[in-house]
Amino acid sequence: MIDFGFMWEALKILIAGLPLTLNLAAASILAGGLFGLLITIFAQTGGRPAMVIANGYVFVFRGSPLLVQIFLIYYGLGQFRAELQSIGLWQFVREPYWCAVLALSLNTAAYSSEIFRGAFQSVAAQQVEAARASGMSGPLLFRRIIFPIALRNALPAYGNEIILMIKATALASIITLMEVTGLASKLIAETFRAVEVFVVAGGIYLALNFVLTSILSWVEHRLTPHLRPRPDPLPAKDKPLHV
């Protein structure tokens, strides 16, 4: 029943969408991660009004579907063509690519800022105290102590967010971008072989996510040597033979 010849053809067609999927994900993770970090720093240092603004931003972008946010930017901003043309932004807003990157970035920024907030709050007060006691303050304290520890704390949750973003790029296909899911839906519509195309497209995403998860757990392993058991100084010599 399963037509492997067709699936091989489908793989060749769908893999052509992989660069765009990766491009969308990388661009929005970079821009969104940076923006999320800015939101966190803004909320933590700007006092009460900054906190309210940041919480509002997070509530809006986490509480509504990404697809509506994409539509609001892609179709909604078209209504302000004259204004956007006068400030020279129209050439970006009319491109589905830039709209998708903008929507994905704004969306992941909201999730990332929550992850970073938790990570900063989990930096132990003693470590900050120790740094202050040895004379660090301000940017130096942030760069040497708070930021590296927070980064390490944020990594598991941020890894999840990266995987979610890879999956979220599929929505860009709805505003005509031909990444893996876009090509898959086109192929299904042409051939009516939903199951085979689904298996191939799903396989591409699974492989991608598997590679990413492996890289992330390697990085996590490298960043947490203090959590690993110490190597046995006397291997096999201080243990009974039979346990």
Partner: protein, 239 residues
């Protein structure tokens, strides 16, 4: 002369208020049905992943890995096009031919149920692993059979621990319903698209859709917080 925003989304002759509210109801209906299906699937998968059988554990792990690793949109396409093709084949036996569309509501509920089942399975499994072993042993010690112990002891404990995670998956499900609009089901996003197309005011309508989604998430956050407070009544808090 453009209509004012409030005339546009109001309940007057040219207003879209009524249509948007009905569509919001449809969004909630798909979300609730899909979420309940997901709970049933999630319980089964969690049970499989916790069972003693190697094969069942493998099946459960494969299910959660695959469905959490691929975009939801692909699953929706699978059910929409695949379901239609299957229906067409079945109808072919009875002499009908041509394209038979899978009912959009059914597609939506199936797709959402199957995806959220994977997430709920992980939440339930985590909650089960976090229940104190002593309580289950105590239930056995006083002579409860498997089913009685499950109903009286395990299920309430698991639900209490799982509730925050279940709340998160509910929010995911709610936002996922927006994707069902690609099948043509007139839920909130699709209705906004229709309204935006016919009035050429996409910005106002998509903004309204976002506000309505926010209202639903906000209300459900409040409800889940109350439910959590209720399940925690019998727990002594250390902090």
């Amino acid at each position: 002369m453009q209509e004012s925003y409030f005339a546009l989304i109001g309940f007057g002759a040219d207003g879209w208020g009524r249509a948007l509210l009905i569509a919001t109801g449809m969004t909630c209906a798909v979300a609730v049905a899909g979420f309940l299906l997901g709970s049933a699937i999630g319980s089964l998968i969690a049970w499989a992943k916790l069972s003693g059988s190697f094969v069942l554990r493998r099946i459960g792990t494969a299910y959660t890995t695959v469905l959490r690793g691929i975009p939801d949109l692909l699953v929706i396409y699978l059910f929409y096009f695949g379901g239609s093709a299957a229906l067409g084949t079945v109808a072919g036996f009875f002499g009908a031919d041509g394209f038979i569309g899978m009912p959009a509501f059914v597609t939506g509920v199936l797709a959402i149920g199957i995806v959220s089942g994977a997430y709920q399975a992980e939440v339930l499994r985590g909650a089960f692993l976090a229940t104190p072993r002593g309580e289950i042993e105590a239930a056995k010690a006083v002579g409860m059979r498997n089913w009685t112990a499950f109903r009286r002891i395990i299920a309430p404990l698991v639900l209490r621990l799982a509730l925050p995670g279940i709340g998160n998956t509910w929010q995911l499900v709610l936002k996922e319903t927006a994707l069902i609009s690609v099948t043509g089901l007139v839920e909130l996003l699709r209705q906004s698209q229709i309204a935006a197309g016919s009035t050429r005011r996409p910005f106002e309508f998509y903004l309204t859709a976002i506000l309505l989604y926010l209202a639903i998430t906000w209300i459900s956050t409040l409800l889940f917080r109350r439910a959590e407070a209720r399940t925690m009544l019998g727990v002594r808090r250390s902090i």
